[in-house]
Symmetry: D2
Subunit: 409 residues, 4 copies
């Protein structure tokens, strides 16, 4: 066990990180700095301050930051420029929040002169990797304390016992009915793992979902949204310009109302195992669909295909925790270069879980040329005879090969 003077803990104020806070004090006899971020998870953060104070944390060592705007503007939106989806389904709601937490945690470590950082992620998941790759990338010699990999509180019982002994108040829900879902929430999504989700053959309980109504319970009337994009980023909804995080919050609210954005899947973790997860990403689901639609009229074909080809790698890079790595920056340079012309609007219809693109256009950057695509007389804009040569030369290698095959018999 290494010698630690001061550690910055990513502190939610919940039971687990409260136990960790106490355990750090007990185990390392070190000063603890708590860092609590508002990423739009929808929880009160003030209790975190009170609890920290109760543990004897000095007021100047308690950091509670509203990172919502930075989160959406500098992390979520850049990621959506790439139409990023992991393994065909997952919108990376947890993955994209970790690098911002790491960054801010390291900033606080520098500011407070801390030599260590700590987090509450378990030793089986992706989040430990994402947090720690961020720490190491930004402060390569920082000491990292991952209590779940060190302590002996691996069973729920031991953890609750430790909390009780430490005078940490335990909610009723934690006492009853076994472990709760493992959840993570921020402006992009809320996720669920564990409990009976650990059986991929079992259907998720309706009572689990928190942000969205079920499609069955959604309104009977559809709702239309007009979304406007500039340089690939959403800038207004129904004509109202808002900040990045306000836009996403609005989409979440409307999407959740219409039962949009539930997902139930088995994914491959970076640490080598498969895991079942359920996600609610109402705003992100709308945003992805709309972004693809605005790109469909403003992006060159080969650029769009290049993006599609590189996307899975970009997604894995983020999923695996390499946001701060140079390969992510290199891919981002490519992606951002392509978004200069992604300007225009998309009209979306929401209805009982469906996100339907009904129309889209761009006044400034449309590459859709109706005079060429038309089935009507195009006045010579396109010479159909050109297709003959196009096909003949594209077929040439196939013809030569088949002729060669025939010659050999």
């Amino acid at each position: 066990m290494s010698d630690v003077n001061k550690v910055v803990l990513a502190y939610s104020g919940g039971l687990d990180t409260s136990v960790i806070l106490k355990w750090l004090q007990d185990t390392y006899q070190c000063e603890v700095v708590t860092f609590t971020a508002d990423l739009g998870q929808g929880e009160e953060l003030d209790p975190a301050r009170e609890k920290a104070l109760k543990f004897g944390i000095k007021p100047e060592n308690i950091f509670i930051d509203d990172l919502r705007e930075e989160f959406v503007r500098d992390f979520v939106f850049p990621m959506f420029r790439a139409n990023t989806v992991y393994e065909g389904e997952y919108l990376l709601g947890t993955s994209i929040a970790r690098p911002l937490i790491s960054k801010r945690q390291i900033e606080i470590a520098r500011q407070t002169g801390a030599d260590a950082v700590s987090h509450g992620a378990t030793g089986k998941g992706n989040d430990q990797v994402r947090f720690e790759l961020g720490y190491y990338a930004l402060m390569p010699n920082v000491k990292v304390i991952a209590p779940w990999r060190e302590w002996d509180l691996l069973s729920r019982e031991k953890l609750l016992k430790y909390a009780e002994d430490a005078g940490i108040s335990i909610d009723m829900k934690h006492r009853q009915g076994g472990a709760p879902y493992s959840m993570d929430a921020n402006l992009l999504h809320i996720s669920y793992e564990g409990r009976h989700l650990e059986n991929p053959a079992a259907e998720a309980e309706e009572s689990m979902w928190r942000w969205t109504v079920s499609p069955e319970a959604a309104p009977d009337a559809a709702e239309y949204l007009d979304l406007e994009f500039e340089n690939g980023d959403l800038v207004s909804i129904n004509g109202k310009r808002m900040k990045a995080h306000e836009l996403l919050a609005t989409l979440n609210q409307v999407g959740g109302k219409h039962g949009v954005g539930r997902l139930d899947l088995v994914e491959n973790r970076y640490v080598g195992m498969k895991s079942r997860g359920c996600y609610e990403t109402p705003g992100g689901t709308i945003l992805l669909k709309a972004h693809r639609a605005i790109e469909s009229v403003t992006l060159d074909r080969e650029v769009a295909h290049l993006k599609d080809d590189i996307m899975p790698r970009y997604a894995s890079t983020i999923y695996n925790g390499y946001w701060w790595a140079p390969e992510r920056l290199a891919m981002q340079a490519l992606i951002d270069q392509t978004q200069k012309t992604v300007n225009g609007w998309v009209r979306i219809k929401l209805y009982k879980g469906n996100v339907i693109v009904v129309s889209r256009d761009s006044k400034t950057d449309s590459l859709f040329d109706p005079t060429i695509a038309t089935f009507e007389d195009d006045q010579g804009a396109y010479d159909q005879k050109d297709a003959h040569g196009f096909i003949r030369l594209n077929a040439l290698r196939l013809r030569i090969a088949e002729n060669a095959r025939n010659k050999r018999g």
Copy 2:
């Protein structure tokens, strides 16, 4: 104009290909062989025979083939093994039918001793390319007649006039209201282009859609389907084994009833322009979702990612018409190699346009190991301490780089 003795025409029996039939006789003074394929488009094919006879086609020169089983088994299913989607949205319903038509048309050309083939695709679209690349790949020196690129009947009026003069009966719908949608149908989908769809800013008319009800009009009660897969292919629905095309037809019927599979998009054609298309692919939409789900429990992570990385290229290859090209065969070899373990079942819920995966598993090939993934005590199946070294070595290059940056200041 080249000298043609006998030409095999891909003949639907509709107005356009009837005009082409007549035009070929008039223009090339050659014998015409008609080939009409049943790909599950849902139209009577008998009238095609009668019409052909009226044009003086010899009975032995009239080919009407039921290709439904071959179509789904050897073309649609192999393509779905790759989770193939073009430009993030389009399920390639038209693209995948063309290579089979080309193949059969060339077989008939060999059988009847024809020296030419012809089709009714326009000079602006992808289908001319797909047909002709198929012809050339399989019979490299065949003569190809593409009437739409040769004749002067480019306006609707001229075409109707020519039909009238030739005594071709014209449906009322063709006489009124301008050109109809340009449509294509087979067991995988039905597509719509043209008319007011030529304006991407205009919403599609509800009256256009033919195979699916709108989500609004779908039943209020959800329906569950149990789908079973073997080697990556669907083999049964709700426990009932059927032939490939029967399975797809069943999915179409159920999906259509629940408003599943509508799509409205702008796509990039191989010939260089953007085009607006609407598609109904009820069965394919279900199949894609379910196939991803069964892969999620049976496919190795790196194999899944490799497939995701190569998929857009495989999709473009098919979209552009290169089904018979060696690069498609090479990619197919990779894809098929991966499907040996894709065995198991998926439970799907259909409700008002939604296709929701609720559970999935594989008795024989699951790679989901609950003893490892569990949040509960795993009895040592996984050593959380291993994650420390995993992260440290994955972070090493990032740490070295940041240390180097800091050293230079």
Copy 3:
């Protein structure tokens, strides 16, 4: 044949483009502007002016531009940042010159108010595509005249006859011994095609090569070069800073002396056929090797691999003529982003055709950390125990799969 007022011809002053000049005047009755570029091909350009005047070209319509610096700085060097090689061998010497010629030709067209451009590339090769894609990308409605695809002078005899009739002086070499090699030269390379190279089973004649001595004829003493790079570009040789084109000219001179850079291959043209070509690229061969070497110590692993993965596509993009297309710009953004740390030096040994990297380092950006890599005691810089967890987690998916296989038996 379209109506042309004024045409800008890419004019070398040689026999073929002189015939074209005359043919344009005869056929289109239009004003001709000649454009002759110095790309370092090593030929006198003054005769081009005299010849143009003889054809009655107005002095203000004769453009002779020294583009050597721009060529190497803005085209060759950016391409080498990607370690660009087509089909594993070809360094794209011809491909990379075409976009600059197109660009300048279109600038001249704008300046002189011309409505057409013309070039001397044949209808079978890649260069017609490269020139014309450049023209169309930069001036989309320009008229393009490609005489080799239009005229009837396809045989050598007819061409010489036309030249004779037009009073164009014909060198002795053109009169004798059939057609010469088809050659192209600029600061990056000289290429040879045609004649007996059309048989891939025939060895190239020693007398063909012009820029390099054979390895056998090269000096018996090796020569060392110290090359310095900044942001991925070569900036000095043996401590002497020079302009981009001077650096490449120096490498060509030294490389050629040592028999470096000959290549004999069969390549796949964009127009669908295979073609045999021989190339001399002495400077480029050295540059590629040295650039890889400096990257080897300054580039992050994943960035290097990302570049390697994207390189073949970037190479094809340039080979096929899409320098001015948006997908090239997107890839360039990625590549350039990676080169910020590519600073340092490489020591190269040249000897009878060999380019041998003997050492390399970077004072500012080395990621080579000898304290970690050492076989000696590393004082704890690297904890060998970390490898255990690294391997265990990387092996996890393989272990789960094999255990699952064994369980099913």
Copy 4:
């Protein structure tokens, strides 16, 4: 430390693995099985038996296998079908031997009922990963002992002391002059790491190289080789058919004589650090060049490009130790599918370090069609006018975009 009954050690008979043998006996008090493989490293293997006996290994527990044919036929040749090169330079000579050793070691473990395996690779390198990924993939619950990560003999002095105490004879070279190069040899290559190579700015000593003469010392007369390929594999040299390993041994001998195949580079290890290595791969260097040449006339363009695109990933997969992983098998299926037509011959010239392709052809599978590629009159085999349409449609998206840009001004 886990409980071990019987361990199979990859035993070279050299100093290090002899110390390991003794250390395993001392530390684990377990039965040791030694496995020594002949992979063509060019060392006597009989001493390994004698030494093992001296350590008290039972005769039935000593395995000395000649794996040369299997190595080249089933590992080296399949890899060369992909033109595999890691980071643009390294031919993977060490990487490709490890999976075979792992496989045989596991076979012996099953045969002898051993529950553990062990190897002599250090905790900093790639080989530990390659060995162990192989072990785990083939016998997922095997115990793996990696002495270099466990023991305290990390310094050279301690190791020699331990050897001395154990009565292990130590060569003079080991006593003097510090640590030797870390070397690895098999039929594909010999590698060098460590010592003063740890400084990338230092030139390698001429005395280090063992398999090749320097180019300077190579014969003054060039030598030609005729190489014949079937399905992408070399089958004969100068008309003489031999087994796979005999062919490679022959190429090594001739190549070494002519100074072919030296390489000096800095590479990125999987464990996260950069490392300087020198390699001699005379036969492999010739084979790669020749294989590319025979592919150049027999492989379709798009297939060749697909292979080039996937190659770096295939190379990393092998480099990182994932030969037995399913993603390698999937890529191999693609690669092998492409090699069916790779039949023909290549003529190579070797001269003082140079490997020069002078000609190549295929009687059965050439796709080089001289009647089409010719600069002479092709009798209509290719219609140059086709190029017009080909270019126009390929340019269409660029023209539309530029027109759109101009319209907006």
